[in-house]
């Protein structure tokens, strides 16, 4: 086999291994995230970004669902009170598992860190699926804790 064929084969094996492994890895990139999307300007404009205090105030005054996109193990340790857990990778592998069916429900998505990219992608995906009130807790769970706002879970006790 000549060098060119070997190069081609190494490239193909790497791509195939990468695509396959990422569907099974815990933090893998689901295939849905590999499909190019339309420009996001319209989608981004429909997401509202809240700081921790505003999110807390709004959730106290109106019925709001917090969606925690962190892994289950982190969620079990502590989370925002009343939040539902939908891990990022799990959602992108099977979006039909998303438990909220009311497209007009007010949703606040959060990840762990400030400006979580995963939370942003998650929120964009919800907008694309037709949810009308999608928001993001921009400082993330870490910002919520720093602001001294209440949490629940094993650690909170």
């Amino acid at each position: 086999m000549n060098t060119f064929k070997r190069l081609l084969l190494l490239g193909c094996i790497s791509l195939a291994a990468g695509l396959l492994a990422n569907q099974f890895l815990n933090e893998g990139i689901p295939w849905r995230l590999l499909i190019p999307c339309k420009p996001d300007r319209f989608i981004k404009a429909r997401i509202t970004y809240f700081d921790a205090e505003t999110a807390y105030r709004i959730s106290s005054a109106n019925p709001t669902v917090f969606v925690d996109i962190r892994p289950k193990t982190d969620f079990q340790v502590d989370h925002l009170s009343g939040a539902i857990n939908m891990p990022f990778v799990e959602y992108f592998r099977k979006p039909s598992r998303f438990p909220i069916t009311d497209k007009n429900a007010a949703i606040i998505v959060y990840g762990f860190e400030f400006g979580s990219k995963k939370a942003r992608l998650f929120a964009q995906s919800l907008v694309r699926s037709g949810f009308a009130q999608v928001n993001m807790l921009y400082p993330g769970f870490s910002g919520w804790i720093q602001a001294g706002l209440p949490v629940e879970g094993r650690k909170a006790r």
Binding site: R6, L10, G18, L19, N22, L25, E27, L33, L34
Partner: protein, 149 residues
């Protein structure tokens, strides 16, 4: 440099780069989304292409690294190694000159050192080493064909 000492340097460099690539690929394989973010931070490829890079690159690094360590398909592995190292150097250089305050993402997807003069020196060293390896491989092949050893 004699044929034998050239061969020793070649084998040492080959295994060294093999271990380097294999070690660098592990963190990226385990945290592909973080690696995609690190690639996206270079602001060259766009989000989707960065994700494709995060799916493809770590496995290419791993396979190339293993080929270098075990001396399998050396011609292709040495070539890919040189291309990868030179590409990394170009990426780091452009980020440095564009004043991008980002993590390199070379060995671990996050929490590594930021791009600075030291990082550039490191990448120049790797690129130069990989080119030396490629040249040595060519010479080694010529030696072998001419029946010098």
């Amino acid at each position: 440099m004699t044929g034998v000492s050239r061969r020793v340097v070649f084998v040492l460099l080959r295994i060294g780069f093999g271990v380097l690539l294999t070690a660098a690929s592990i963190g990226k394989i385990l945290h592909p989304l973080d690696f995609a973010q690190a690639v996206d931070n270079y602001r060259l490829f766009g989000e989707t292409l960065s994700r494709w890079a995060a799916v493809f690159m770590p496995y290419l690094e791993l396979l190339t690294g293993l080929c270098l360590i075990f001396g399998f398909w050396q011609d292709a592995a040495v070539f890919i190694n040189a291309v990868l190292m030179c590409t990394f150097l170009v990426l780091v250089l452009q980020a440095f000159f564009r004043n991008l305050d980002i993590y390199c993402g070379c060995f671990t997807p996050k929490g590594e050192s930021k791009i600075n003069a030291l990082k550039i020196m490191e990448n120049i060293l790797f690129a130069a080493g990989s080119l030396v390896l490629w040249v040595l491989f060519r010479m080694h092949r010529i030696d072998k064909k001419s029946g010098r050893y």
